[in-house]
C-alpha cells in the first residue's frame, strides 16, 4: 500500500502513476479479503463437514471495488493516451515546461 502511494507521489511518468494507483488499490482489496478469514473456517458453502465459515461479505464488497478500480484504471489510461496525443509526452516535467512556454 505504501509502495503504491510512493510510486504515485515520486514518479514523473503519468503511466507509472496509474500503475501506482492500481497497486495502492489492490493492497486495500487484500486488506479487506484478509478481514474475512475466520480461524478454521471453510468457504461459505453449506455442508455438514464445516464448523465455521469464512465471512463472504468482504469478498462481495471487494468484487464491487475491483470493478470500480478497473474503471478508474481504464479511464486513467485513456486520459494518458489523450495526453500523449496532445503533448507527445507523458513526462510531468516535460509537460510543465511545454505549458510554461505556451503561456509566454
Amino acid at each position: 500500500m505504501v509502495g503504491g502511494l510512493f510510486i504515485i507521489i515520486t514518479s514523473q511518468n503519468y503511466l507509472k502513476k496509474v500503475v501506482g494507483l492500481a497497486i495502492f488499490q489492490t493492497a486495500v482489496f487484500v486488506f479487506f479479503v484478509s478481514l474475512a478469514k475466520v480461524l478454521d473456517g471453510t468457504a461459505p458453502i453449506l455442508t455438514k463437514m464445516a464448523n465455521a465459515y469464512s465471512n463472504p461479505l468482504p469478498h462481495v464488497l471487494i468484487l464491487t471495488a475491483i470493478v470500480v478500480g478497473v474503471a478508474t484504471s481504464a479511464l486513467g489510461l485513456a486520459l494518458v493516451l489523450q495526453i500523449y496525443k496532445n503533448y507527445e509526452t507523458i513526462e510531468e516535467k516535460e509537460i510543465e515546461s511545454l505549458e510554461l512556454k505556451s503561456d509566454k
Binding site: L5, K17, V18, L21, V28, P58, L75, G76, L79, Q82
Partner: protein
C-alpha cells in the same frame, strides 16, 4: 397506476438518470439526448416533490432494496436532513441542464452530445445516490461513479484547451487516493462492527464505549478520504484546475452541487455516527476542521484576488466558501450546523449563477475569459452582466441577497459560541471578496471601451436569470431555506444532545 412507481420513488430518483444515461449514450442526434435528459429530470423533480410530501407526513422514509432488512441489505434513508438538499438538487440540475444545451453545442463536438448527456445523467444519478444512501460502502460506489463521470466530463473540455486533460488526470489520481482512503476506513469499521448500515453502525459502535484504536484509525481514514473529495483546504488542489478547464456547463454542475453533496455526507457521518465518541469528535472539529476552515477562507480569498482567469478566480473563491461551510459545521451546536446548511443552499445558487454567466461570456468571447477580455462587457451584454453583478454582490454578502442571510446566520452562530477571532476573519475575508469582485466590475463597466449592446441568447440568459431571481427572492424571503436548514440541524443535533 402511478402509485406503484411512487412507492419506489427513493430508488427511482437515483435509478432513473442512471438508466436513461445508458440509453442515450450512443444517440448521434444533436437535440434528442437533451430533450430526453430534460424529460428525465422533470420526472426526477416530480419524484422529489412527491418525497417532500411523504416526508412532511411521516418524517422518515427508509427504503430497503429488494426488501432485505437494513443491517443486511442496502437501504436509502430520507429524513429531515436530506430532503431540502434533494429538492435543491433536483431543481438546480433541471435549470442547469436547460442552460447546458447551447453551451455544449458551442464547446464540444455535436456528435459527442449523446455521450456528454449520458455522462451528465450518470453524474446526476450518482450524486443523488450520495444524498440518499444509508450505507457506508454504497456511498463509496456512488462516490466513484460520480467522480469518474465528472472526470470524463472535465476531459471533454480538451476541445477548448488541452490543459483540461491534465486537470482531469490530476483529479482522477487525487480523487482515487481519497476514495481508497475512505475504503480503508470502511474496512476498519466493518472489522470492528460487522455492519455497513449507518444506523446499525451507531448501535454496534456503542459497545466500544471507551473507544478502540482501530475504530479511531478507521474514522480518521474515512474523514480524510471525504475531505479530499469535498476539497476542504489542504487537500483541495485538484479543484481549481478541474473547475476552470471543464466545459462551462460542467463547471456549473460541479461547483454548485458536487462538493455540496459530499460535504452533506461528511456532516452526516460526523454528527450521526461519530457522535458516540464526543471526545474524538470535538478533537477533530476543534483542532482539525476549525483551523483548516479558517485557513481555507483566508488563503482561498487571497489567492482569488491574484487570479487573472475568471473561472480560476471563481474556483478559488469556492475554496473559501467551502471554508465558510466547514467553519459553520465545526461549531458543534444547532446554530452552527443550521448556518452551515443555509450556506450550502445559498452558495450552490450563487456559484451556479456565477459560473453560468461566465460560461456564457466564454462562448461570446470564444476564448478563456480573463480580466482584460471582460472590458466593456457590461454595455455589450447588459442582461447577462447584470445577472453576474447580482450573483457577485450576493457572494460578498450584501443585504437583499441570499449571501447576506448566510453571513448573518454564520455571524450569529459564531457570536453565540464567542469566537470573536473567527468573526473578525470572516469579516476581513468578506471585505477581500469585494476586492476581487470589484476588479471584475471595474473591467465590465468602467473601462474606456464602450460597446453598443448586442443581442443575447434567451435560451442561455433565462436559466441564468432564474437563478439570479431566486437569489434575490431568498434574500428577501428566506424562510424556506432557513426552515430546511433548521430541520436538518434539528435531526443531526438531537442525536448529539442525547
Amino acid at each position: 397506476m402511478f402509485d406503484i412507481f411512487l412507492d419506489d420513488a427513493p430508488a427511482l430518483v437515483v435509478v432513473l438518470p442512471l438508466l436513461i444515461s445508458a440509453i442515450i449514450a450512443f444517440m448521434p442526434s444533436k437535440i434528442w439526448p437533451w430533450i430526453i435528459s430534460i424529460i428525465t429530470l422533470l420526472l426526477h423533480l416530480f419524484l422529489s416533490l412527491h418525497l417532500l410530501k411523504e416526508i412532511s407526513v411521516s418524517g422518515l422514509i427508509i427504503y430497503e432494496f429488494g426488501n432485505w432488512e437494513p443491517p443486511w441489505g442496502i437501504s436509502f434513508k430520507i429524513d429531515g436532513v436530506n430532503i431540502g438538499l434533494q429538492l435543491l438538487f433536483s431543481i438546480f440540475v433541471l435549470v442547469s441542464t436547460f442552460y447546458s444545451r447551447k453551451i455544449f453545442l458551442n464547446e464540444i463536438d455535436y456528435r459527442d452530445s449523446g455521450k456528454a448527456y449520458s455522462l451528465w445523467l450518470l453524474a446526476v444519478g450518482s450524486l443523488n445516490g450520495i444524498i440518499l444512501t444509508n450505507d457506508i460502502f454504497n456511498l463509496f460506489v456512488f462516490l466513484e461513479i460520480s467522480a469518474l463521470a465528472s472526470i470524463s466530463l472535465i476531459a471533454l473540455g480538451a476541445g477548448q484547451n488541452r490543459k483540461a486533460l491534465l486537470a482531469a488526470f490530476n483529479y482522477l489520481i487525487i480523487g482515487a487516493i481519497g476514495a481508497t482512503f475512505y475504503v480503508i476506513g470502511v474496512g476498519f469499521a466493518y472489522a470492528m462492527t460487522g455492519t455497513l448500515n449507518m444506523n446499525d453502525l451507531v448501535i454496534q459502535l456503542a459497545q466500544y464505549s471507551d473507544g478502540q484504536l482501530a475504530i479511531f484509525a478507521g474514522m480518521s481514514f474515512m474523514l480524510i478520504g471525504l475531505m479530499v473529495k469535498a476539497a476542504i483546504f489542504p487537500v483541495h488542489i485538484w479543484l481549481p484546475p478541474a473547475y476552470s478547464y471543464a466545459p462551462s456547463a460542467v463547471s456549473t454542475l460541479l461547483a454548485a452541487l458536487a462538493t455540496k453533496t459530499i460535504l452533506y455526507f461528511f456532516v452526516r457521518l460526523l454528527y450521526e455516527v461519530f457522535i458516540i465518541y464526543p471526545s474524538y469528535l470535538s478533537l477533530f472539529l476543534d483542532f482539525v476542521l476549525y483551523p483548516l476552515s479558517l485557513l481555507a477562507i483566508f488563503i482561498g480569498t487571497v489567492i482569488a484576488i491574484y487570479q487573472d482567469d475568471i473561472k480560476k478566480l471563481l474556483a478559488f473563491s469556492s475554496i473559501a466558501q467551502i471554508g465558510y461551510i466547514t467553519l459553520a459545521f465545526s461549531l458543534k451546536d444547532h446554530s452552527g450546523v443550521a448556518s452551515g446548511f443555509v450556506h450550502v443552499f445559498n452558495h450552490a445558487l450563487i456559484k451556479g449563477g456565477l459560473f453560468m454567466a461566465v460560461g456564457y461570456f466564454a462562448i461570446l468571447y470564444k476564448d478563456r475569459v480573463t480580466l482584460n477580455s471582460l472590458k466593456g462587457f457590461g454595455y455589450k451584454y447588459p442582461i447577462t452582466s447584470f445577472a453576474l453583478l447580482i450573483c457577485g454582490l450576493s457572494l460578498i454578502g450584501l443585504p437583499l441577497t441570499n449571501g447576506f442571510i448566510s453571513k448573518l446566520y454564520l455571524f450569529q452562530a459564531l457570536y453565540t459560541n464567542q469566537m470573536y477571532f473567527s468573526i473578525a476573519l470572516v469579516a476581513v475575508s468578506s471585505a477581500l471578496a469585494v476586492v476581487y469582485f470589484w476588479k471584475i466590475v471595474e473591467q465590465m463597466w468602467f473601462s474606456e471601451i464602450k460597446f453598443k449592446s448586442e443581442k443575447e441568447d434567451a435560451y442561455i440568459y433565462l436559466p441564468i436569470w432564474i437563478v439570479t431571481i431566486s437569489i434575490i427572492v431568498f434574500g428577501i424571503y428566506s424562510t424556506p431555506i432557513i426552515e430546511f436548514s433548521n430541520l436538518s440541524a434539528d435531526y443531526l443535533i438531537s442525536g448529539y444532545q442525547n
